[in-house]
Amino acid sequence: MCQIISPELVSKIDDRLLSAFNGEKYEINDGDGLHPEVVVESAKFKGMNRVDQHKMVYGALHDLLKSGELHSVNVKTKILE
């Protein structure tokens, strides 16, 4: 039922995060092999509540989520002070 976390998918996630959070710190962990975890630390999150911070990360991954290639991802965000 859940998605397959292939190296290709991880590379696509990496690609999109690099574009959206250019130069800032992020991590992709393959969690338990079924649910990847994406950790992003960005100054862009300043002033945003958690929901909006996560929406920004989801926004970067929008096409993957829309196509169904990715439908479950654990997101952790931190504000880079």
Binding site: M1, C2, D32, L34, H35, R50, V51, H54, K55, Y58, H62, L65, K66, H71, S72, V73, N74, V75, K76
Partner: protein
């Protein structure tokens, strides 16, 4: 008379769009009803007794440990509702948690709020002691 007749029939496309819009707004109405009726409401995969995905199970664990009564909707039962809730919150994943009608986020946000003690303060005091 023939031309009068054709003016009053909307195109098939217009009718389909209207039908879809209607369907979506029906679901949005249902969502609003549910989240305002119940203090803690979860749109999840599966049921509280049988969560069908790891994150839905995690959410249930958190609320069980806090002894909070929750109500839920199993999106696996209705693919249209599954899409409607994502559209409503503009949030692409499930589960989705509402407290007092407000969208809180997904399992990861809930976990964070629980870990730092914020979640307890947000609860409407409906623990079943």
């Amino acid at each position: 008379m023939f031309s009068l007749f054709t003016v009053f029939i909307p195109s098939f496309e217009v009718m389909t769009q209207r039908a879809l819009k209607n369907e979506n707004s029906n679901h949005h109405e249902k969502i609003e009803e549910l989240i305002h009726k119940h203090p803690v409401f979860i749109f999840m995969k599966g049921t509280p007794d049988q969560p069908m995905c790891r994150f839905s199970a995690l959410v249930m664990d958190i609320f069980e440990n806090l002894r909070v009564n929750v109500e839920s909707y199993n999106v696996l039962e209705d693919p249209l509702m599954r899409e409607a809730i994502k559209d409503y919150t503009d949030w692409p994943t499930l589960p989705q948690i509402f407290i007092d009608g407000n969208f809180i986020g997904g399992a990861d946000i809930l976990q964070e709020l629980n870990d730092n003690g914020e979640l307890k303060k947000m609860l409407p005091g409906n623990s079943n002691e």
